[in-house]
């Protein structure tokens, strides 16, 4: 089917978003056409406004409206502990615990040469700059995938010589999970990192 030019352009733009294939792009485009005019306008404004008013926090590289984000500028947060995460959304996961009182650093990805992501594509230089101030511990909270583990290794190799303690989130059995239905990899690492009672 041949679409009118503006529609084809809308579909093409939507298709460039992650996780949106040709089919969902068409579905979204037709949905937008059926929306009320002012709703569409609000969506368009939200898109450009978000893009224009948001930037990366000068310190932790998370997405923020100010120069420095709320967490980094909060005097109650302890700057000697930095929790390193891959994506801004990972901060929210740790924050929900109301346990961690340190600060964060967002890498914006993981090492992945197959996707052309090397150290220079990640916010690693910015992390090293922060380590010039007194930092006691860097907690690496990347996902337990091969890429997440390798990124953690890479950072540990860089940071340890600076005299900063580097730790990694433990991986093991999900609490409340049943041993019999656990995946083998999880069970193996839970066994490997078992602890004395």
């Amino acid at each position: 089917m041949v679409f009118a030019k503006p529609l084809a352009e809308l579909i093409a733009q939507l298709e460039r978003l992650p996780g949106v294939g040709p089919k969902s792009a068409q579905r979204l485009a037709f949905h937008i056409l059926r929306m009320r005019d002012d709703d569409v306008r609000r969506l368009a404004i939200a898109l450009t406004h978000a893009k224009e008013s948001l930037r990366l926090c000068q310190q932790c590289q998370s997405v923020t409206e100010a120069e420095v984000c709320e967490i980094c500028s909060d005097p109650r947060r302890n700057p000697v502990q930095i929790c390193v995460v891959a994506e801004p959304r990972d901060i929210a996961a740790v924050e929900r615990l109301n346990e961690f009182k340190g600060t964060y650093h967002v890498l914006h990805g993981l090492l992945n040469p197959l996707e052309n992501v090397g150290p220079e594509q990640l916010k690693i230089r910015e992390l090293l700059t922060r380590l010039r101030d007194t930092v006691e511990e860097v907690i690496i909270a990347t996902n337990p995938t091969v890429e997440g583990d390798t990124t953690a290794l890479y950072l540990a190799r860089l940071i340890k010589p600076l005299g900063v303690t580097v730790t990694r989130l433990a991986h093991g059995m999900p609490v409340g999970g049943e041993l019999d239905y656990a995946d083998t990899a999880t069970l193996l690492s839970a066994l490997e990192y078992r602890r004395e009672l």
Binding site: P119, L153, D183, T184
Partner: protein, 366 residues
């Protein structure tokens, strides 16, 4: 070690799997003979059991190819005894394969490994003796993954890190070379590659005397030797030098380049062995694998013997048959002619006749 009661398939249902539309069988605890003409579904039946055992199809076939032509999903399910647990694998076009244990879906298909241990043996295994080194590594990897789940994990991580390092080598050839980008991937390859080599090496050391005595029974007086040959002694050193790898754009060292040397009468069986010697060496090796699996699990695994009779002489045939019988576990054996099997085995077998994806149970009246 005290022997546990062997795990066996006591009922299996195939739904739109390969050329089966809907078929249920009740295999016997002992030897099950699957007889039929060519292209009727004998191998497909063994493949279904293998799928339940490993979460994968035979010979790396793509999941979607096993869905019956015209259908959109396939399901293979079985009841395992003595526990009475239910195992099922679902393949569907356009979605991920699902493995269920007692109706609970497992996180990954490979997590099923260990619930129904099997050892598979087909005429294609001759390639272990005659083929490229990659066929022998494939043999090591598939058998070890079944016996030691930790091995599969090391292998998965190693392969991924290897892929990533190869991508870096390609990028370096295109002009962007960052030495520090290599190190973390190489750390992973060293850590897991060393474990892969250690497990393979230990296993071969264990396997050697067992395979040797099996070989003595088949070919008295002929020396048999397995040697694991790592490509290089120091993987960390070899990876960190990088010069050859950068020139070739691929990783030339590591366990993915190692060799398993099989010698008969002091000579490499691949290059110097007669066809008979090559067959004998594969059988000796496989019998040793069977022994190893039995040792680890504490009971004999289910034996899947596909078309092993067609090109074996009487001597090797009866060695295999008596090994299969002596195991005391469950056996599935395919053949085109029940006559190939021989009286002793035929009398103790339950026979299934396969014709165009239908399986008729047949009392052993032959």
């Amino acid at each position: 070690m005290t022997e546990r009661e062997p795990i066996r398939v006591s009922e299996m249902t195939l739904h739109d799997f390969r050329n089966y539309e809907s078929e249920t069988i009740h295999p016997a605890p002992g030897v099950n003979l699957i007889c039929g003409e060519n292209a009727q579904g004998k191998t497909n039946c063994l493949e279904a059991i293998s799928l339940l055992s490993t979460g994968r199809l035979l010979r790396g076939s793509k999941d979607s190819l096993a869905i019956r032509h015209g259908a959109t999903q396939a399901r293979v399910s079985a009841t395992l005894n003595p526990m009475g647990s239910a195992l099922a694998v679902q393949l569907a076009l356009g979605s991920r394969k699902k493995v269920l244990v007692n109706s609970v879906s497992l996180p990954r298909a490979s997590d099923v490994i260990g619930r129904l241990p099997t050892i598979c043996f087909s005429s294609q295994d001759l390639g272990i003796a005659t083929g490229e080194p990659s066929e022998r590594r494939h043999f090591l990897d598939t058998e070890l993954a079944q016996i030691y789940p930790a091995y599969l994990r090391h292998l998965t991580i190693y392969r991924r890190a290897l892929e990533q390092r190869n991508a870096l080598l390609k990028q370096a050839q295109e002009g962007s070379f960052y030495p520090e980008a290599f190190e973390a991937w190489e750390d992973q390859m060293v850590e897991h590659g060393t474990e892969i080599r250690r497990i393979r090496q230990d296993w071969i050391t264990w396997l050697n005397p067992v395979a040797q005595s099996a070989h003595q029974r088949l070919a008295p007086g002929e020396g048999f030797l397995l040697t694991y040959e790592p490509r290089e002694q120091d993987l960390a050193l070899a990876l960190s030098s990088r010069r050859e790898d950068l020139a070739r754009g691929t990783t030339t060292c590591g366990p993915h380049r190692d060799e398993l040397l099989i010698e008969v009468g002091g000579k490499a069986v691949r290059t110097f062995g007669s066809q008979g010697q090559q067959r004998t060496s594969v059988i000796s090796l496989k019998l040793a694998v069977l022994e190893s699996a039995r040792e680890v699990f504490g009971f004999p695994p289910v034996l899947l013997l596909d078309d092993v009779f067609s090109d074996l002489d009487q001597n090797r045939r009866s060695a295999l048959v008596s090994a299969a019988l002596n195991e005391g576990g469950q056996v599935f054996l395919t053949c085109t002619e029940p006559g190939q099997v021989g009286g002793e085995l035929l009398r103790s077998s339950t026979i299934f006749l396969v014709q165009s994806g239908r399986m008729g149970h047949h009392e052993a009246t032959l």
